[in-house]
């Protein structure tokens, strides 16, 4: 589970805390099912680590898209998420997590499109793979990244050390 922390990080920043662990499972289910078919996929010819990370990012994006659509068409669906009977949701420690000042500001001031790029960059996904996954050009990836940083700079302006704001 080398990549599990990265996937968790993406989810924690992108969705409500209570939704993160269900979506985490969705991502791995899709990943494992597809991974079993890799013997006939083009990823085979590539170095191991890169396709795994970029494929996970793609899977994360697809799951997130499905989740957002489901929530927008049926807001109650969150309430009826499939939590096992023996699962005590009040113990979901995610709700107590501190995502960090800079990341928290990024979540609030960046558009979802800018966050998509930012999160992929932080996980080391190449601009090319980000562009391919989001169906945009590499120059748009670069533009969104700069825009996200610029928004953060404006918001954190006047504080030499953003962490001091905490």
């Amino acid at each position: 589970m080398l990549y599990a922390p990265v996937v968790k990080g993406w989810l924690i920043v992108s969705v409500k805390a209570a939704e993160a662990d269900d979506l985490f499972q969705d991502i791995w289910v899709v990943f494992y099912r597809r991974w079993q078919q890799w013997q006939f996929l083009p990823e085979m010819g590539l170095p191991e680590a890169k396709p795994v990370a970029s494929f996970l990012y793609k899977t994360f994006r697809f799951v997130l898209e499905g989740h957002r659509r489901r929530v927008s068409s049926n807001p109650e669906s969150i309430e009826e998420m499939d939590v096992p009977d023996n699962y005590d949701s009040s113990n979901r420690l995610l709700q107590q997590l501190d995502v960090g000042v800079c990341m928290d500001v990024a979540r609030r001031v960046c558009s979802p499109e800018e966050m998509d790029v930012l999160l992929a960059k932080l996980a080391g996904i190449s601009a090319r793979d980000i562009a391919k996954t989001l169906s945009i050009s590499e120059s748009v990836v670069d533009h969104r990244f700069r825009k996200a940083i610029s928004r953060l700079r404006k918001r954190l302006k006047g504080t030499k050390n953003p962490k001091a704001r905490k």
Binding site: F24, D26, R33, F40, L41, V63, L93
Partner: protein, 213 residues
Amino acid sequence: MVENTIYNELRDDWDKLLNVPRLNTFPAPEAILLEAASPNVRPVALFAELEDARTSWDELFKEIRSREYSDKLVTRFWTLKDMAAHVASWAKEFRRQVEMVANGEAFDYAIANALSDEGPNEWNRVEVEKRRHQLLDESMEEFESETRSLQELVLTLPQEVIQTETDFPIAPTGDPSMLWKGNIGQIVAMKCLHDQWHTARVRQWFESIQSSR
């Protein structure tokens, strides 16, 4: 310089987030593997699998610039256009099957030899023939639109409907009275596997003709 500082701060926050797995808040990997192998997959995961299959096929055809190769043989019998028609015909069939099961309707037909080693050759032949006059781009559009409809549909379905086992119009032995039993989750997984398999085959074919140039 300021940009670098902010990015470094973000990286620090990100690195701290990566320590989250130490908190035991997520299912163990073994539980997820079991879930992946089971037919009980949630609607969001089905949507994501379909999105992956749809975009893989779409990306491949954009790369091929299909018109140039439309009439080239990709198998012994089928051209690229026929292959697109075949994948489109199954996209329509899978969407219809899921829609009917979701509506509680019964099937009055069966596809002989589907899910068998022999394969549903006659059904495949008839469906490709029906699309003989359809342009490759039209088959691509049919695949796209049918897959998107299926994606929207699965997102609206309650989990219990996705998991309910029922007869599908698939007759592996060729006998229409002996239908395959399964659920919507399995049918969607089957569609994705089918799409990805053909995507990979067409990609191999395309790469082989590119390298021989």
